[in-house]
Each structure stands twice: as structure tokens, then as C-alpha cells.
Symmetry: none
Subunit: 190 residues, 4 copies
């Protein structure tokens, strides 16, 4: 009736192997066979629990401690945005993984939903919370479209990550923070 319970060891080994393969070979070269072989797991065990290799990577990513979202509270919108973007930009080692997941999300609608709901949404919520706090302090126009502001910030980040035509460094973060702070200020035209 009950059956053998799922092996936590196998799950951990698979997630660990996925990250290792990602690091060594990159997202494009990732294969289910490779992950299974490195994890000492059967392919079936992967297919039993994850619909695609991208879901494995997503789970692995979400379990990484470094993935915790920093929500700064510096007292002013500008300082908060600076800190938020600096924290986000500092994880540049994961750009390859993130863009790989975004690519997969384009190619596989089922994964797109998981990616949106389990990864992107929490980051959007964090940034939105930051903006809402600023609005409560009167730093953001009461009628501002906060979702659009979130999209402007993350859109610019993702666009540069994906296209790679411009740097994602501290200076870029400061300029983007300044632009957004200004665009959100009270009294702007609607």
C-alpha cells in the first residue's frame, strides 16, 4: 500500500549533479543522461520526479542558499534600489544558468509556468514590496504603475543578461536606480 518512500539521497545527488554539470559544461550541454550518470542515479528516477531537465535545474537553483533574495531596507528608495541591484548583479556567476532557464522556458510552456511561479514571481514580489514601502513613505507617486516599474527594472536586467551587449556592473546599477527613482517620484505626469 505504501511502497518504498522516495530517497532523499537520490534527490540530493541528482540536484548536486545537475549543478556540477551546469558549472562544467553549461546549460546547452546539459543532458538527463549526464546528470543521472554523475549522480549515480537511474534516468527513470529523474523522469519520475521532474518533467524535464530544466525543472531539475530550477529545483537545484531554488535550493542554493545564495539564491535567497536580499530585500534591503536602507530608508530611501534610491538607496534601497542601489542595494537591491548591487546584490542582484553580484550573482553574475549564475547568469549562464538563469539565461539557460529562460531559454528553456521559451521552448517549453510547461516549464515556463514553473519558472514564472517558482522563481520569477518571488523576485518580482520582493522588488514590488520595496517599491510599496517607498510609496508609503511618499517617495513614489500614489498613482504609479508599480508593476511597470518592476518590469522596467527586471526587463533591463534580463535584456542585458540575455543580449550581453552592455555591462551589468555597479555603475549600470546606479544609473538604472537613478532612472527608476526619478520616474517614480511623486508629481510626475501620468
Amino acid at each position: 500500500m505504501t511502497g518504498r518512500p522516495r530517497s532523499a539521497a537520490a534527490r540530493a545527488a541528482i540536484l548536486r549533479a545537475a549543478l556540477a554539470e551546469l558549472g562544467e559544461r553549461g546549460y546547452a550541454a546539459l543532458t538527463v543522461e549526464g546528470i543521472a550518470a554523475r549522480a549515480g542515479a537511474g534516468k527513470q528516477t529523474i523522469y519520475r520526479w521532474w518533467p524535464s531537465k530544466a525543472d531539475v535545474v530550477l529545483d537545484a537553483l531554488l535550493e542554493t542558499a545564495a539564491e535567497r533574495i536580499a530585500v534591503p531596507d536602507e530608508g530611501s528608495l534610491r538607496a534601497d534600489l542601489d542595494a537591491f541591484l548591487a546584490a542582484t548583479f553580484s550573482q553574475s556567476g549564475q547568469h549562464g544558468v538563469l539565461t539557460g532557464l529562460m531559454a528553456q522556458s521559451v521552448l517549453d510552456p510547461a516549464f515556463a509556468q514553473a519558472f514564472r511561479e517558482r522563481f520569477l514571481a518571488s523576485r518580482r514580489a520582493a522588488l514590488r514590496g520595496l517599491l510599496e514601502r517607498a510609496r508609503a513613505r511618499g517617495e513614489v507617486d500614489a498613482g504609479a504603475d508599480l508593476d511597470l516599474l518592476v518590469d522596467v527594472v527586471y526587463g533591463t536586467l534580463w535584456y542585458r543578461m540575455l543580449v550581453g551587449h552592455a555591462p551589468l556592473d555597479a555603475e549600470a546599477g546606479r544609473r538604472l536606480a537613478a532612472l527608476v527613482t526619478d520616474a517614480a517620484r511623486p508629481g510626475r505626469p501620468g
Copy 2:
């Protein structure tokens, strides 16, 4: 010594087949074999002239008349941006193709360069030209980071195209145009 020249018919048939497959099956299901079969061409003919299937799609896309970039000149930045975004958003039928190419560009660095230089660059240049005209008219701060503004506009567009969490309609275009116009206005803090 010269040999038989390249067949324009084969080239056209291949591009046509690529677009047809794209339309019927979507980017993820695209295969070189499928394109060749539908075009009545040999696979070798494709590999002889294009390094990857994404390059075929890119060529096909660039040859589409609808792909011509509209660079409006309405007399004011706000009106120009409105028109520019409206024109861009109206091509929503191609979102699947565009996001597919972006995905491919993540997975294949060689294609990424082609995509950046042959597709994205000209669109960025068009938008930048629009902003430069506005700056010459005094509608944009002299010290504004025009490249950042371009990234903000295209970043937001691509982000919404890729994630699909928010609409890309006329209203969204107007709000984005308003935000950018305001952020670029002279006298804003740096």
C-alpha cells in the same frame, strides 16, 4: 572553375519552409530535417549556407516585409515613442519566433552574435536615433544615457514577451512611453 551558382530557388524554398514549419509547429519543434523535407531540399544544401537552423530562421525573418522598422517622426518624443511602441507591439504574431531566436541565442554563442548584429542592433539604432532627434530638439536631457534608455524600452518589451505575465497592448505602450519620456526630460537629477 567557377561551378554551378547557388540556386536562388532552393534558398527561397528553404526560407519559406522554415517560416511554414515555424508557424505550424513552433520554434521548439523546428528541425533541419523538417525544413529540408518541406522545402524539397537536401540537408546538405542547408548546412552549406547556414551554420544553424536559427540562422535560417533569422534570414527568413529579415526577409519578411513586415519586419521593416518603422521610425516615426511625429514632432515630439512622446508621440514618437507612442507610435514606435504601437508599431512594435502590433507585430505580436511574431513573438513566438522572436523569443525562439532569443532562446537559441542563449544556447548558441555563434548565433547570438549574428542575432545581435543583424537583428537587434538595427532596432536599437532606430530607437536611439529617435531619442537623439528628441535630444536635438531639447526634449531629452543632454547628459542622458541614451543606451540605458534604449535598454529600458527594449528590456521591458522583451521581458514581457519572454515571461508573458503582462499584456503587450496599446495601453502598456502608452504607459511605457510616458515613463521613458518623463525619465529622459531635461533637468532631471543625474
Copy 3:
């Protein structure tokens, strides 16, 4: 310390399921998983008691009442052989099972021994007993190689079952009985 005794119900369900699968799908498609699923038994229960799926089938076969060996005693060798072959041929519904077991016995030496000792041997002994009785009556040459005669009879049967190039009907039985009766007669050259 003795633990739960073997479940007769499980054993019966497994044998029943094996026969049912055999009938519906044929020997080649038989799987331990399929038998277990249909029997509502665990795979382990099968592996605990039978070394291979063929052994399950062998047990199932040996338990079938129809499998009882008819050893006729009609008073003459010819009549006995006729009856024996007629009885054997009449079980033509089991040809698929029998040839399946013979195939398995080729592919698995461990099963081959079980098949030989638990199934084939008793049938050979029955036929040999029939011939010995005939020899005691003087219908068979004292120096005849009874084992060879048994092989000739069963060899011809199995060959036709396996190859399927010629019928195994009443007429074929009579001809074979006549041939063997004649070949075994006293006074034949050695």
C-alpha cells in the same frame, strides 16, 4: 520466529494471472511486472518463490488438469501410439505455451533443467513405458533403442510445433504411429 506463512492465495493468484496473460498476449509479451500487476501481487513475491517467469509458467502449466498425461493401454503398440498421439495433438491450444517454454529453455540454462526434469521427463517416461510394454508383448525388437524411438516421436512433434510448416492433426498422428510401429518391429536390421 516462524513468521507469516506463505500465502496460498498469492501463489494461486500469480499462477492464474500468468495463464491469463499468456492467453491474452502470448508468451513473448509476458513480463513479471504484468503478472504481478494482474495478480495484485508484489514483484518480490514472485521473485521470492520462482527464479524466472518461465518457472511461473511451468508451475501454472503443471497445475492444469488438462496437462495430465494420458497413457493408453489398447492392447497393441499401434493402437497405443495412435491414442497417445491423438491425445497429445488434441491439446493444440497449448502449443504457444509449450514452444514459449522451449524458447525460454534455450535462453536460460537454469530453466532448461527445470523444464527437462519437471515437464519433458515425465512425458518421455510415459511414452517409454508404452514402448516397454509393447516390447514385453513382443511387438518391439528386443534390441531396439527405445530412447531413440522416444526422441523420434517427440522430436517430430516438437519440430512441427516449433516450425509450423506441417499440420499436427489426426492424419499426421496416424502416419507417425505407423512409421514408429514399423521401425520398432522385431527382426528389423540393427
Copy 4:
């Protein structure tokens, strides 16, 4: 229109590899992957030309020079049969291959037809030709069922090969030859 022609080298390498794997591991352990790997061929190349691994083995077997059928002509039925059986028994190294093919032929009807028509039929025809010659010489009863005689000979051989309960040596060949010669003699009862 034509396409690249089939590679004779690949075909030969595959047949050679199949025989080598057979010799080293036996029929039961034969895999398409193993054959492909040893032949340095792609699996698809095997699947393109042969419906199953057994068909590969059959082709390999038919190409072996040692497989030529010896049809002796010694002047008398008894001597012919002795020679025929001796020649057949001498190829005992191939028993494993032959029984493997017979097993496959039980499990796969499509292969059964190929095995019957391309392998068994020619051997049956050779033996039948030998018996027909004897009948023309008056050594075989005019009304004898030659097909039954062929089945008796091959049936006995196959039965001993498959079951392995009795030797297939020169002495066994002589006894079988004697039995068949006697059973076929003119004037026997019908």
C-alpha cells in the same frame, strides 16, 4: 533521387560483429547495441536493414562458408544418410546459434517466416532430394511420405539440440540413419 548507396563495409562489419558477439557471449546476451558498438556502426544502420537482431544473425549465418549444405551421393540411402548426418552433427559448434534462432523464431512470428524460408527450407530440400534419389533407385517405398521422413530426421536432431538430454554424435547418427532407412524401405505397411 538516388542517395548515397548502402555501404558494403558497414554491412560486413555488422555481420562480423554479430558472429563475434555470439561466439563470446551467446545468443541470449546478444544486443543490438553491442553489435553496433563492436561493428563501429550506428544502431540506426542496423535497424534500417534488419527488422530484428535475429535477422542479423540469420544473415551472418547464411554467409558463413561452413554453412554450405553437404548433399552426399554415396550410392545407397544408408550411406547417404550416414554421411549427411555426420556432416550435420560435425557443425556442433553452431548449436548455440541455431537453438537461439529457433527460440527467436518462437518469440517473433516475422522472424519465424524468414528462418523457415531462408534457412530451414533449404536444408529440408537437401534431405528430401537425397530421399527422392533413393526412391528413384528403389530403396524407398513409392508411397512413402517423404516429408514425414524429413521431419523425423530433422525433428530428432532439433529435439536433441534443444533439450540436450542425449548426445548428437556419430553413433547417434548411425542409429538414426538405420532407423530411417528401415522405415522407408519398400514393402513396409502403410
